[in-house]
Amino acid sequence: MDASTLLQVRDLKKYYPIKQSPFSRTKTFAKAVDGISFDILRGETFGLVGESGCGKSTAARSILRLEKATAGSVIFDGIDIMKLDKAEMRQVRRELQVVFQDPYSSLNPRMAVKDIVAEPLIVHKEARGKELEGKVAKLLDVVGLSPSSSERYPHEFSGGQRQRIGLARALALQPKLIILDEPVSALDVSIQSQIINLLEDLQQQFRLTYLFIAHDLSVVNHISNRVAVMYLGKLAEMAIGEELFKDPQHPYTQALLSSVPLPDPAAKRKKVILQGNVPSPVNPPWGCRFHTRCPYKMDICTQKEPPLNDIGGSHFVACHLTGGQVKQ
C-alpha cells in the first residue's frame, strides 16, 4: 500500500439476512453494501454521496467495525482492522473517530459537556487531574465553545453547538481519520456553514483526514477533494470533486446533479428527471443496478454488471456506455 494512503477499502460487503418463513430453504439477504473499493489519502476529504438507503452509513459502520462486515478488507494506516481482536481494535479506534448526524442521540444526556469530552481521555488513560482539565478546556476552545459551556448538559445546546461537542470529543485522542456521517444535515443553513468552516479549520490545524458522508451534493462538492457516488450498495462513479461535478459520466451522477435546485432563478438547465424509485437491495436488478431508471439503457445493461472502469485522470465509472474507454 502506498504510504500516502491512510485507508484502503477493498470489496467491502455487508449483507443483512432477511427474516423468512421457517420452511423456506434458501436464505435471502439485503445487500446493503455489495462490494465497494476505494482509497482515502492522508490529509484529504473523501466525499461519499448517494440517496437514502444506498448503503453510505452501513459502509461507514462496517469500516468502523460497529458492524461486522460480510466480506472485504479495510486497511487503516497499514493495519488490516478486520483481523484485529477487541483490545487491538480499541487501540485503533483512538485514531479512527466518528461523528454522526444527530449529535443528540450520540451524546450521553446525563453527562456534563466537560465529562463527555473528557471521557475518551480517561478511558485511554491519557490524562488526569489538572492536565485533564486543561486538555478539555483547550478542546472546547478549539471547536468554538465558551468555557462556561463545560458545566452544562447536551439538552441545553442547539443542534450546531451539540455538533461542536461531538467534534471536541472526537478530537480528544488526536485521531488521524474522522468519519463524518451527515454531520450538517440536521442544521439550518447559517449554522451549517459555521460547522463546515470549522471542519475545514480543524483539518488544517490537526492534519486530519475526513470521510465525509452526505446526501447534499452542494455540501459534498464544497468540502471534498475526491468524491464517490453510491447507488444501491455499489459505487457508480468516483473522481476528483471538480471533475465529477463538471463532467459527470455516469447517467445516475448526471441525473443526481441535474436534480439539485440551484439558488438562482435565472439558471437555465435541463433536468434529467428519473422515473420511479430506488429498487430494493433485497433483489437488486440484474446487470447494472441502475438500468431500471436509466434513460440510456442498452441490452447489455440488463445482463452484465459493469465494473468500475478507470477512464483516466483518476476518474472511475461503472457504466457500459463508458466501458473501459479512456476519455478523449
Partner: protein, 318 residues
C-alpha cells in the same frame, strides 16, 4: 386578482414560560395562480403562519389577532363548521412528513375516497373511478392496484403524492405546501416539484411554498418573503431577491450556502444563532448577528417599508 389578504396577523402562544410571539404582525397577500415562497430558518414562524390561516392552531395556547380575508371571507370570524368547509374546498395543505399526515390503518384508496366524498358532489358509484383518476393525476403507477395499499407500503415520495392527491381532490384555490420535498431524496424531490408545477398550470392553484431550501424557492416561486424570528424582513420578486438582496439576513443566507453553480473556497456564515422567542433582542431582532448593525438597530425595531414594485424591507440601512 387577490385571493388572500392578511393584515397584522399575530399568533402568540401563551405558555408556562411566557408568551411566544411565533408570528408577530405580518401583512401579505397572495394572488390567484401565483406561487409565493416563504423562507427562513427553523422556528421562525413559517408553519405557524400557514396553520393560522388554515385555522389549525390549537387555542389555548395559541391566540390569533389581526385580519385574514380569503376570497372575501373574513376567516377569523368563521365558525368551526364553516372553517372546516373552507379548509376542505378552497384551501388545502401538504406537510413535510407525509407519513404523519396519513392514517396508517386505512388504505390510501379509502383515504382519498373519503376526501373526495367530503369535497365533491359525486355519486357513490363514481367515487372509486375518481379516486383512480386522482392517483393517476399525481403520477402513481398502476393506480388500480395501489388503492388497496396501506401508507407504509409506499415510499416517501409516493406518500407525498397521495397527500397531494388528497389536497387536490377539492380543487383548492390555495395550496399551502410546507416543506413538501424536504424529507425526500433529490431525484424524488425533482419529481414532486415537477408535479407541483404541472398542477399549478393545469388548475391555476395558488401555492404558498414554505421551504428553507433557497434552491427550491428559486426554482418554484414568483415572489418571496423572508421571515426571521416571527416577522417578515424582506419581500421581493424572485429575481430581485436572489440577485439584489436588500436585507442583511437575506444576503447572509445567500452567502452561507455552498452552491454547485458557483463554487467558492470559503463560505461566509451568519455568525451566532437564531434568538429565543422568550428572550428576543431589543430593537431589530437580527442586530446581534448583523455585520452592519448601527446604534439605532439595537434600540428601535425597524418597520417593513415599501420600496415600490412589490418590494418591502425592514432594515434601518434602507
Amino acid at each position: 386578482m387577490t385571493l388572500l389578504e392578511v393584515k397584522d396577523l399575530k399568533t402568540h402562544f401563551h405558555t408556562a414560560k411566557g408568551i411566544v410571539p411565533a408570528v408577530d404582525g405580518v401583512d401579505f397577500s397572495v394572488c390567484q395562480g401565483e406561487t409565493l415562497g416563504l423562507v427562513g430558518e427553523s422556528g421562525c414562524g413559517k408553519s405557524v403562519t400557514a396553520l393560522s390561516i388554515m385555522g389549525l392552531i390549537p387555542s389555548p395556547p395559541g391566540k390569533i389577532t389581526g385580519g385574514i380575508l380569503f376570497d372575501n371571507l373574513d376567516v377569523l370570524f368563521l365558525s368551526e363548521k364553516e372553517m372546516r368547509r373552507l379548509r376542505g374546498n378552497e384551501m388545502a395543505m401538504i406537510f413535510q412528513e407525509p407519513m404523519s399526515a396519513l392514517n396508517p390503518v386505512l388504505t390510501i384508496g379509502q383515504q382519498i375516497a373519503e376526501a373526495i366524498r367530503l369535497h365533491q358532489d359525486i355519486k357513490e358509484r363514481d367515487v372509486e373511478e375518481r379516486t383512480i383518476d386522482m392517483l393517476q393525476l399525481v403520477g402513481i403507477p398502476m393506480p388500480e392496484r395501489r388503492l388497496r395499499d396501506y401508507p407504509h407500503h409506499l415510499s416517501g415520495g409516493m406518500q407525498q403524492r397521495v397527500l397531494i392527491a388528497m389536497a387536490l381532490s377539492c380543487y383548492p384555490k390555495l395550496l399551502f405546501a410546507d416543506e413538501p420535498s424536504t424529507a425526500l431524496d433529490v431525484t424524488i424531490q425533482a419529481q414532486i416539484l415537477e408535479l407541483l408545477k404541472k398542477l399549478r398550470t393545469d388548475f391555476k392553484t395558488a401555492i404558498v411554498l414554505i421551504s428553507h431550501d433557497l434552491g427550491v424557492i428559486a426554482e418554484m416561486a414568483n415572489r418571496v418573503i423572508v421571515m426571521y424570528a416571527g416577522k417578515f424582513v424582506e419581500e421581493a420578486s424572485v429575481n430581485d431577491l436572489f440577485h439584489n438582496p436588500l436585507h442583511p439576513y437575506t444576503e447572509g443566507l445567500l452567502l452561507s450556502v455552498p452552491r454547485l453553480d458557483k463554487p467558492i473556497k470559503r463560505l461566509q456564515p451568519i455568525t451566532g444563532t437564531v434568538p429565543d422567542f422568550l428572550d428576543l433582542p431589543t430593537g431589530c431582532s437580527f442586530h446581534p448577528r448583523c455585520p452592519y448593525a448601527l446604534d439605532i438597530c439595537r434600540q428601535k425595531s425597524p418597520i417593513l417599508k415599501s420600496l415600490g414594485a412589490g418590494r418591502r424591507v425592514s432594515c434601518w440601512l434602507r
